[in-house]
Symmetry: C2
Subunit: 216 residues, 2 copies
């Protein structure tokens, strides 16, 4: 497959295609046209073709897409044919909920260890993985094959932890702390800012009540 | 303040301004120029001015922005001068973590009740709010002032629950179910698709390992 620079907007749409294709595949649908996919997903067929053309197509003229093949190929593009080892930093409520979320495991995202600063948690387990003292994080990451660090700690601590990881071999931080992290380009960051999401919702609620005729 | 159609891209940036302004305000910084804000937030000063001009400005030539005023005004635009009542649907790990997350409450987002299908949870509480049977949701929503329904249930159940809420007075759904909901325009939806976020991260990890010279 050709390598070219793909926009983050296209990348951001791939998981949604992947999700719809899984449902189609699971429901026994073997092939689908871009028009049909367009109707189900509520995006234009032209958008779908353009998105897929970034990766060299996938369709056959007059046949459409083979759902299973397309599902597998998008999975490979997303790197889902790899297993990713993850460690949790911050074994509070949100962190523990993420560790226990089984669907991540099904997609090859495996939590292997958790870290916290609360001594009462040391030696305990969550979702079958041990909780260790945060001060052991760097050594653990250096000694083990860790791909992704999941940060669910207060913003006051997040910057320091992220900084301590800059000279390790981790590939990415999945950041739930309510702060923007500054990291070298070799470490990918994906933010989940729950409060920002809620504020956006709040804006749209009140905008809607001010001018009810506006559309989305 | 003038009302005009503001793009969702601008709205999506407001919570980040709000967050930085809170930090500036809390650190005792009384005023700030767009250049200084630009440097801290790593967006162009021109972008900042354009974003704020959507709401009629806020700045004074030669003075810059009063951080406290700007913080308050953006808060009002985001609707944060209102209290929002929320109910949780799905009192599993993620749902319980969200209820216990105190920062939402500080921003005026109050969970008032939780619902689940698990009879063992009925009558229990989480974070001080009761957990009731899901079948009582519609009646509860009709009898109480509920602004936002937070959906943390499997995708197989999410569509039906969302549908049951279409003829109620709720204003929004904050959707964590891994599915796209179809709702009337009167109900705002904000999705938090954790798996999509993780897949995007995975893509960027592997893209990075294929062509290490690409920039973000």
């Amino acid at each position: 497959m050709e390598e070219k620079e793909i926009s983050q907007a296209v990348i951001g749409r791939l998981p949604r295609y992947y999700r719809y294709l899984k449902d189609l595949k699971d429901s026994g649908k073997e092939r689908i046209s871009s028009q049909e996919l367009s109707r189900i997903m509520k995006v234009t067929a032209s958008q779908i073709r353009q998105d897929f053309n970034n990766f060299g197509g996938f369709g056959q003229q007059g046949y459409g897409y083979n759902t299973n093949y397309l599902y597998e190929e998008i999975g490979k593009i997303l790197g889902l044919d790899h297993v990713h080892n993850m460690v949790l930093v911050g074994a509070g409520n949100l962190g523990q909920a993420l560790v226990k979320y089984l669907k991540f495991k099904k997609s090859g995202f495996n939590f292997i260890c958790a870290f916290d600063i609360n001594p009462q948690l040391f030696g305990q387990t969550v979702g079958g993985i041990p909780i260790r003292p945060l001060r052991e994080l760097k050594d653990y990451v250096d000694a083990n094959d860790v791909d992704i660090v999941v940060l669910t700690i207060p913003k006051s601590d997040a910057r320091e932890v992220a900084h301590s990881l800059t000279r390790t071999n981790i590939k990415a931080i999945w950041n739930f702390a309510h702060i923007d992290l500054e990291l070298p380009a070799s470490i990918q960051v994906e933010n989940v800012h729950l409060q920002d999401s809620l504020m956006k919702l709040s804006y749209n609620i009140h905008r809607n009540s001010i001018s009810p005729d506006d559309d989305q």
